[in-house]
């Protein structure tokens, strides 16, 4: 497994763990939350994500010093672009659907809309890194 495929796995796991932690902490999507609680949860999630990423990245770099130092080649850039394209569609569809549901189905407030967009972003990131792993494994 290449260094970049390993980093894709690490980022995917970090996103899933941190997102689950966030939702566990914040509770239901459409419940009204105090801005302080949301900001605290967001901040804690961001710090947890950065910590997981940094520690894992340095461990991987120590274990694969040669691979880590190499710049991305054309295949790796193509994989990143294709994964990004798929994730873009996921983000747009999820965000629009989420906003529609939040505003017109459950009549939630602006906070829920913002949370929905963030959820769409998380889903898109999960899809992006999953797609990268698939392309690394099965070819692009």
């Amino acid at each position: 497994m290449s260094f970049r495929e390993k980093t894709a796995w690490v980022t995917l796991c970090a996103i899933v763990i941190v997102t689950l932690m966030y939702w566990f902490h914040i509770g239901s999507l459409f419940e009204p939350h105090s801005p302080g609680r949301v900001a605290h949860s967001l901040g804690a999630s961001l710090v947890a994500f950065l910590l997981i990423e940094l520690v894992a990245y340095f461990v991987l770099r120590l274990r694969n010093p040669e691979d880590a130092g190499e710049p991305k080649d054309e295949r790796e850039r193509l994989i990143d672009l294709k994964a990004m394209r798929i994730a873009y569609y996921v983000f747009v569809v999820c965000a629009l659907l989420g906003i529609f549901v939040a505003l017109h189905v459950v009549n939630a407030g602006a906070g829920a809309v913002a949370t929905t967009v963030m959820l769409a972003y998380m889903a898109a990131e999960v899809v992006r890194h999953s797609a990268r792993i698939v392309f690394y494994r099965r070819g692009v």
């Binding site: 290449s2 080649d73 054309e74 295949r75 690394y136 099965r138 070819g139 692009v140």
Partner: protein, 72 residues
């Protein structure tokens, strides 16, 4: 992913050139070992530039390295 219709003789050429490793060829061409492995296995079609670089390393023409197979 469906394999590309482009086949290649990189593996044979590597062995004809002192059993050159994928790592060494990749370094000389400017791609990673994993990318070279994907090219050899027909999982990735390289750009024209990389194809020319590979041919140059072996001192042969591009069409001696890559062949376009029958389209399905």
């Amino acid at each position: 992913m469906a394999p590309t219709p482009i086949t290649n003789t990189i593996r044979q050429l590597r062995f004809q050139h002192g059993e050159m490793t994928q790592q060494e060829l990749g370094k000389r061409v400017g791609v990673t070992r994993q990318t070279l492995n994907a090219i050899e296995a027909g999982k990735y079609s390289p750009s024209l530039e990389v194809a020319f670089r590979i041919a140059k390393v072996f001192g042969v023409r591009v069409d001696e390295v890559f062949h376009f197979g029958p389209e399905k």
